[in-house]
Symmetry: C2
Subunit: 543 residues, 2 copies
């Protein structure tokens, strides 16, 4: 039997486009000889629709699309993902289902392990299934599962326990999993290990179809795979792009590896491709065409400009240089060099005259009080106003340039450099930003080496350096990682050998600045613990 793995990029709630994409992919796969076409979880509405699922007409549109697919793909066996109504009183109104459609027949397989990930919490909408049916198809007995049905419920990373331990009693000879598994740089490896061990444990071929594409802050990396019944990867679809590929199930039994198993790209390559896709899909799905970035000559705005140009094309990116009286000459020259290298249009608007106007307007109220953080923030906010004005006038969407280290400790100005519709590198620590820029410069100097090598500075007062108010980024980021990604306490971090005063100061900065993080744009998620929905700390907490 030949199975097509359809790894597609859906637009949440755009039923017309999603349905058209599903139908045309099925038709093409059939033409190429596929006997069965498998799509990813909730492919019809796009994953994850959240509270859109609460609207009756959203549910109706899901059903109308399903009917349309059943009609248009009448002679093509397909398995698509669709929320299905649950008629049982006192239960959740829907189930998260894989629906098999062929020649008017319809068989429904509902998810048992409803996802509880705070990023896409399925529990408010979906009732877990208690059934364990098998799809009988062309002599195969296929265990049809969804997403977390194949997660490991045991504490042991090797001894995989999941829904297959129940389904195995039905004597399947193949496993199919429709997934929508969000990316972070640890996931490709984790997913590979989990699925491999599941296939191996039950000695069954396993076909895994994942969603691809970014949905606001969440990026889905694809990387669909077919495993042989000894756990080897027989076929792997690409990461971060759409693909429909056909595998032959014959090769999945009594498999002899004739090549190396799948190689997962290195961390910086994954993050790079994820961010390009994240920016591109945000713009495409929002119906935006062009971006604007405030380019300072520093590393963060350089990286964001690079990603914008890579994702949208240099012709769709404009940058504005906004030097103040505290900007160094090399800031301007580094920024210009990058703009020229990338081929993006740039304007230069010095902010000193505007700064002076505000000083005049505020003179009475401030009555000769000394220069302090107010005036530093004022410069950042004047830049924000100019960038938003250009954004409004020409329709370019402003990109936020904060990195994760800054976002963690609140080293940024609300409504100033924290402006922007999408935070591109807000889940990338400064030390990772350096790694990422070296990865980008591997073959060619795209980001000026001077930008990468100079000491980071906000340039908001004379001779300012980030290191005046922050620990060195290598130390800061190591502490932040322990605190944010690992939820370690101060005592545990100090016990790892970090200076107690530095740890105390860092943790206090993180906790005090929760209010800033709650006003920031969606952050493209690339780490296992990004700011946003998955790290919920009360703003008023004293801890």
């Amino acid at each position: 039997m030949k199975i097509a793995l359809a790894q597609l990029n859906y637009c949440i709630g755009d039923f017309e486009k999603n349905t058209e994409k599903i139908i045309s992919s099925a038709l093409k796969a059939k033409l190429k000889g596929a006997d069965l076409v498998v799509f990813s979880e909730l492919s019809i509405p796009g994953y994850f629709p959240s509270d859109c699922l609460l609207f009756d007409d959203f549910q109706k549109k899901c059903q109308a699309s399903l009917d349309q697919i059943a009609e248009k793909c009448f002679d093509i066996p397909v398995i698509v993902g669709c929320p299905m109504p649950n008629e049982n009183e006192g239960q959740k109104p829907l189930q998260d289902c894989a629906v098999y459609l062929y020649q008017g027949k319809r068989q429904i397989f509902a998810k048992q392990r409803i996802g509880s990930n705070p990023l896409c919490d399925e529990r408010p909408y979906f009732e877990p299934s208690a059934e364990n049916e098998i799809l009988e198809f062309e002599g195969f007995r296929i265990a049809v599962t969804l997403g977390e049905d194949l997660s490991n419920w045991s504490d042991d990373p090797i001894l995989i326990e999941n829904r297959m331990d129940q389904l195995i009693g039905k004597h399947p000879n193949m496993v199919v999993n429709l997934a929508a598994s969000p990316f972070d740089y640890t996931m490709p490896k984790k997913r590979l290990d989990l699925l491999r061990l599941t296939a191996l444990k039950h000695e069954l071929p396993l076909v895994f179809v994942n969603q691809v594409g970014a949905q606001t802050h969440l990026i889905f990396d694809g990387g669909s795979m077919a495993f042989a019944n000894n756990g080897h990867v027989d076929h792997a679809l690409p990461f971060f792009e759409e693909a429909v590929e056909i595998i032959d199930t014959d090769t999945l039994y009594n498999y002899r590896p004739n090549a190396d198993d799948i190689v997962i790209p290195e961390k910086m390559s994954l993050i790079h491709d994820a961010l390009v896709l994240g920016v591109r899909d945000y713009f495409h799905k929002m119906g935006f065409k062009s971006a604007i970035v405030g380019l300072s000559g520093g590393l963060d705005s350089a990286l964001v400009t690079y990603f914008a140009a890579k994702a949208l094309g240099a012709e769709n990116v404009r940058v504005v240089l906004l030097p103040s009286q505290f900007s160094t000459d090399h800031s301007v020259s580094d920024a210009e060099a990058l703009a020229i290298k990338l081929g993006v249009a740039y304007d230069t608007i010095p902010i000193k005259p505007l700064f002076d106007s505000f000083e005049t307007a505020l003179a009475d109220v401030f009555q000769g009080r000394p220069f302090d953080v107010t005036e530093e923030n004022l410069q950042a906010r004047i830049r924000g106003v100019i960038l938003m004005a250009v954004s409004n006038k020409f329709g370019n969407i402003l990109l936020n340039t904060s990195n994760k280290s800054e976002a963690s400790v609140g080293y940024g100005t609300l409504y100033g450099d924290m402006c922007g519709g999408l935070s591109v590198i807000g889940d990338v620590y400064k030390s990772e930003a350096y790694e990422l820029s070296r990865f980008i410069n591997k073959e060619d100097e795209i980001i000026p080496w001077h930008t990468i090598n100079k000491a980071p500075s906000a340039e908001l007062r004379p001779d300012q350096k980030d290191s005046d108010s922050l620990p060195d980024y290598s130390i800061l980021d190591a502490i932040l990682y322990q605190y944010i990604e690992c939820s370690k306490s101060k005592e545990e971090i100090v016990a790892q050998g970090f200076d107690e005063a530095v740890v105390t100061k860092t943790i206090r900065m993180v906790n005090r600045n929760e209010f800033k993080r709650q006003q920031v744009a969606p952050i493209l998620r690339v780490s296992p613990r990004a700011f946003g929905a998955e790290r919920t700390i009360p703003v008023v907490a004293k801890f």
Copy 2:
């Protein structure tokens, strides 16, 4: 037996202060003759700590506080709320518990129905209990329950089904519920009905102790109650303030009502008191003292200034009038009249010179393009910059003045009038804002009647009125209520008699502006469906 109901305001994670408050309340209650002192759910850490619960040292501090209370209240029987470790492998690390402490004895009652409210989702942290123990105390058999244990699991609002249907098998003769039930204007009545019917169904007295106080956007209204075994309210604690009151259980059996039952304050009174508490607690818990508001002469900023003055004292509020070339004379005079009436300090900074400076700075880039929404936003953002500068220089926290109608349709400028650390009336529709202002003016003209009665306008271009771009607020708000609070579809709303074009336009505006709402400050929640955590719509959704 005499039971003290301790309805207290906790600060999340401030173990020292919470523990001290619990101990001193218990000691005072004992002095007044209490035999048992009951506190609210998670009283030791304060409700709801969210991801703080993931930190080992947070859990350790909970246990240390519990030990301290056990020691200091050795001779006082108390029931406190505390997360307790769950040792079972493969389960959630904690349970949400009521802990009875007396003379070295300790009995633990874990919550069975873990709260799944998206506002405070308890499921990631707490394992549900399967046990149904009874507290035997002084000849009483007390069913000790927590929060949602007493929610109605049936579909029928009258036929209440909850944990008491299991516990009744253990023959209790009293029910106690430790709760932390967030306020919205529908909750006091809902809670009363639910608890009354639970008491009535089992013919048992019921003692309900709720948390009071605001935790960032969530407001807890208190309103603790003791029900007699016929469902009548024997004693009710006040709403929106701390109270420790003692009831005599003798009166709860064979109850003869000698007065009217509890009267729940009207909606505007509840919202008023909730917002005062919300502002006050945000400032107190964040360690802030004073507020700043940009006062336009319109209704929204007038209301926010009123609430700031009410919550913090007029001496801790300053306002800035920021007239532009489009401001009307009455805007300035209405704003001044309010500032004088409330006794808050005010400055006036005309923004025209700053607007001109930006026009000059942008002249080359804009090359004579016409005045459009860019220049409207520019004015709003200049105001934001000035307000934040005064905020930074003097330490006053800027309050956001958007109302729910504006937030819904995106009628506001990001980084402009949408600035601010806390949104005070962001869950109050414009029509409710009118009602609220009439409630405030019931006895005295506090908010100028002219402010209330004039046509609302953003005053960002000549002779602008809100009604130029929005439907009348009475119609707009009715549509928004159906769409946001009731999740009705366009078709259903049109079927109610609204104009189809207006409904279509309104829904489109709501959906298109999700990105703005995701960058706004925490919104004090007073409705059953506030923007923020409980309405999750993907920014990129096409629906």
